[in-house]
């Protein structure tokens, strides 16, 4: 019989830097729990049985959430042990907890149906997960755990090529390396990490975290070839001559543009370009870093997903007045709630039910304003459950000297032109084992889903690694 515990209705808050301070730099906004605070929050968890716990069902990779939270309470007198045990539980399903703890849309996943929500605040699962990962990294506990695993790896003598070093590719690589395969990642850019590196800003996901994850992979023996663009530097066909299997995790990197006059005016960025300049190339440190970016006094960001919030909040940090323009209403904003709240605290304005129809320029080809059509919602809903909208024939023009388009992305084009690779509406087609139409070639993440989430990409990487392991085990037996 479990000890009867007092219900603590309110969440233990995580310290955050105040908006007026943080809008002047790119340092992380949320400071996370200390061990004491983490234990206090962990104590709020009711420890629902694993087969019932709704949090586990809500997590796309089914982490044993009460399991890892319980370890924090159980070993509260020995923080290092508590974290190590909790990390073991998390790692069984998720190898990038410092990242997912920060960027998962927890409100729609693990925390959505937490039973504590019936009596008070839901348990702050994301921040607890992040705490475990951060503490482990700072104390070297993660490496210790990794090395306990490494000597047990039995080399299989087969080689796997991974295309793209985003969360899907990194996860597949790590899992396959742990299974004893010789893994090489081909990455187009100069830094591995995918969107974690070039898209999500430092103030939300410090790059040192991504780098530390990649270091760990290297210690597992994973080789990373940057500057290699599959489809140009080497083709999938050629990879298949050298490797026993291939995993495609090339993401959805092609930005969608708005088909409206003036789209190529100067000062109109895609969110990808803007964020790449700012994050990957560190344009916020210009001229110490060489890459320029131009942020005017008035910035309009079009779209209302995570990408739009990241672009808007980055622009704000250059001192701009920022408006987020969205063609639908507040209930359809798809960004994480925490980011929307942070954006509002930082003084970013939201304009709903306006849809851009024209970009207006000056005589030098620079954007000066955006003309929007006012939209109105209907009662009818579309296939994704969003309310349909129609134009009203009324227009409004808003001045801006920088416009950032954040309306979504398509899968990367260089890969999908591979002969024999079945693709539907830009997405690579896979079977239930994530194998593509080319035998031995698997795919996952945004490349098969279109723009999705980090945890889904990781989940695919893990699932594909398992399928590749089965595929290669069979191959070994056939050749034996």
């Amino acid at each position: 019989m479990a000890v009867k515990r007092k219900l603590i209705k309110e969440r233990v808050p995580t310290p955050e830097r105040p908006p007026e301070e943080r809008i002047h730099d790119f340092k992380e906004v949320n400071l996370g729990y200390t061990f004491e605070l983490a234990v206090k929050e962990a104590e709020r968890c009711l420890q629902c049985p694993a087969n019932y716990a709704p949090c586990i069902k809500g997590c796309p990779v089914h982490i044993d959430i009460p399991g890892f939270i319980g370890k924090l309470v159980q070993y509260r007198d020995d923080p290092d042990k508590a974290v190590k045990e909790a990390l073991k539980v998390i790692w069984a399903c998720n190898s990038l907890p410092a990242t997912t703890g920060r960027v998962c849309p927890q409100e729609d996943q693990c925390e959505m149906n937490c039973v504590m929500g019936k009596v008070g605040d839901k348990v702050n699962i994301g921040k607890l997960e992040r705490f475990v990962a951060d503490y482990a990294r700072e104390k070297g506990i993660d490496e210790e755990l990794l090395f306990e695993m490494v000597p047990k790896i039995e080399k299989k003598g087969q080689k796997v090529a991974i295309i793209g070093a985003g969360p899907a590719g990194l996860t597949a690589a790590g899992e396959l390396a742990k299974l004893g395969y010789d893994v090489t990642i081909y990455e187009a850019l100069h830094e591995p990490g995918g969107v974690l590196m070039y898209g999500i800003p430092e103030f939300r996901l410090p790059k040192s975290i991504v780098e530390s994850e990649i270091d760990k992979l290297k210690k597992l023996g994973v080789k990373i070839l940057t500057d290699h663009i599959v489809g140009k530097t080497v083709t999938i066909e050629e990879l298949l001559e050298e490797y026993d299997a291939v995993f495609i995790g090339s993401g959805a990197g092609t930005p969608r543009l708005i088909n409206a006059p003036g789209i190529n005016l100067n000062g109109i960025y895609t969110a990808n370009e803007f964020l790449t300049r700012v994050n990957l190339m560190k344009a916020y440190l210009f001229p110490e870093y060489d890459t320029p970016v131009k942020v005017g006094k008035r910035v309009i960001v079009i779209g209302a997903g995570n990408t739009a919030m990241d672009a808007a909040r980055s622009a704000r940090r250059f001192g701009a007045e920022v408006i987020i323009a969205y063609r639908r209403g507040p209930e359809d904003v798809s960004a994480r709630i925490e980011e929307v709240e942070h954006a509002k605290e930082e003084g970013i304005k939201f304009e709903y039910f306006i849809n851009p129809v024209e970009f207006i320029g000056d005589e030098n080809g620079n954007v000066r304003a955006v003309k929007f059509e006012k939209m109105k919602p209907l009662d009818e809903r579309d296939s994704r459950g969003k309310r349909k909208i129609v134009g009203t024939g009324e227009y409004v023009t808003i001045e801006a000297d920088t416009v950032i388009i954040a309306i979504g992305k398509h899968p990367n084009r260089l890969i999908i032109n591979t002969p024999g690779l079945k693709v539907e509406r830009g997405k690579i087609v896979v079977d239930e084992n994530l194998m593509t139409s080319i035998p031995g070639v698997f795919a996952g993440g945004d490349a098969i889903r279109g723009e999705a989430t980090v945890i889904l990409a990781m989940g695919d990487g893990r699932k594909a690694a398992k399928a590749i392991h089965e595929y290669l085990t069979k191959k070994r037996k056939e050749n034996a």
Binding site: A188, L189, H190, Y198, L225, T226, D227, H228, I229, K232, T233, V234, G253, T254, P255, L257, I263, N264, L265, N266, G267, Y269, T270, N272, E273, T276, R277, M281, K282, L285, F286, P287, E288, Y289, D290, T291, P292, K294, N364, G365, N366, N412, R413, L414
Partner: protein
């Protein structure tokens, strides 16, 4: 990390680097480019493999020193040093088909990119005339062209005291257009190909259009990733938005929206100038 095997100044402001980059050397075709990142706080800039050796695994890049990155490379890198990143080959190969009599026009440093294409066109059975429009002191690759193509012409001029980059590019545009007009009026050509500053390419195109000869232009929009991920390099071609890094960099000159391109390449001019000035100041120890 890619080792610099050899570095040489070919003419004022024109620096040649021979670099170990087997992954590029193995695959590169005329008309393709690479993205180079030379310094940890540096930019990614597109450059063109001018020559290569597939077996020995090296490529030759030539930079025209015009701003901070190309100047830093010239000042700070020497043979034996390493370049952090050389990604590629990127972009599509140039159209190397049997056209007949071909005129290639290298406007200023555009000649760097013309070389491998002109050579390939000649090898493909065309009769190639390669024209280089440049300040006379900056004539490069003369011997290489003489060996590679039927005829090599230099339209050289002296830079007047007090001219800046703007005046030089205007002179290149004016002379380029004039010389091309003369060539096209006196001889028959089946195909024209140009590389160079957008304004000068436009001037040449306007002449070629009068003669109705098919023309291919390699464009130089500003690039970041070079893999189709950012859209910085977008150009309007045939009324559609294209990404020069994966749809180009070469396009049918008749379909290019030249004025838009001219505006877009100038977007960062003020910041580029500032970066260069601060760099020059730091060199002077200020």
């Amino acid at each position: 990390m890619y080792r610099i095997l050899e570095k040489r100044e070919l003419a004022p402001k024109h620096v040649m680097y021979r670099i170990e980059a087997p992954h590029v050397a193995k695959k590169v075709q005329p008309g393709q480019f690479v993205i180079v990142r030379a310094f940890s706080n540096g930019e990614r800039i597109p450059l063109t493999p001018v020559m290569w050796n597939r077996e020995e695994g090296w490529i030759v890049l030539i930079t025209f020193v015009r701003g901070k990155t190309t100047m830093r490379m010239a000042n700070e890198l020497k043979a034996g040093d390493y370049i952090l990143n050389v990604a590629g080959p990127l972009g599509n190969p140039a159209p190397v088909e049997r056209f007949g009599r071909v005129l290639t026009v290298g406007l200023s440093a555009g000649i760097i990119e013309v070389f491998p294409i002109a050579k390939a066109l000649q090898e493909a059975g065309n009769d190639v005339t390669a024209l280089h429009v440049t300040p006379s002191s900056m004539t490069i690759l003369e011997n290489e062209f003489k060996k590679a193509v039927s005829r090599h012409l230099v339209e050289g001029f002296e830079v007047e005291p007090g001219w800046g980059a703007k005046e030089i590019v205007e002179e290149i545009a004016r002379r380029g257009a004039e010389r091309v007009r003369k060539l096209l009026s006196e001889e028959h050509f089946d195909f024209v190909l140009t590389v160079g500053p957008a304004g000068a390419q436009k001037a040449v195109f306007e002449v070629v259009r009068e003669f109705g000869i098919p023309m291919h232009a390699d464009l130089h929009p500003i690039m970041v990733d070079g893999t189709g991920m950012c859209g910085s390099c977008r150009v309007t071609v045939g009324g559609e938005v294209k990404f020069a890094c994966i749809d180009g960099p070469g396009f049918n000159a008749y379909e290019v929206d030249w004025d838009e391109l001219i505006h877009r390449v100038g977007f960062y001019t003020d910041m580029e100038r500032r970066a260069l000035e601060e760099y020059l100041k730091s060199l002077r120890g200020e």
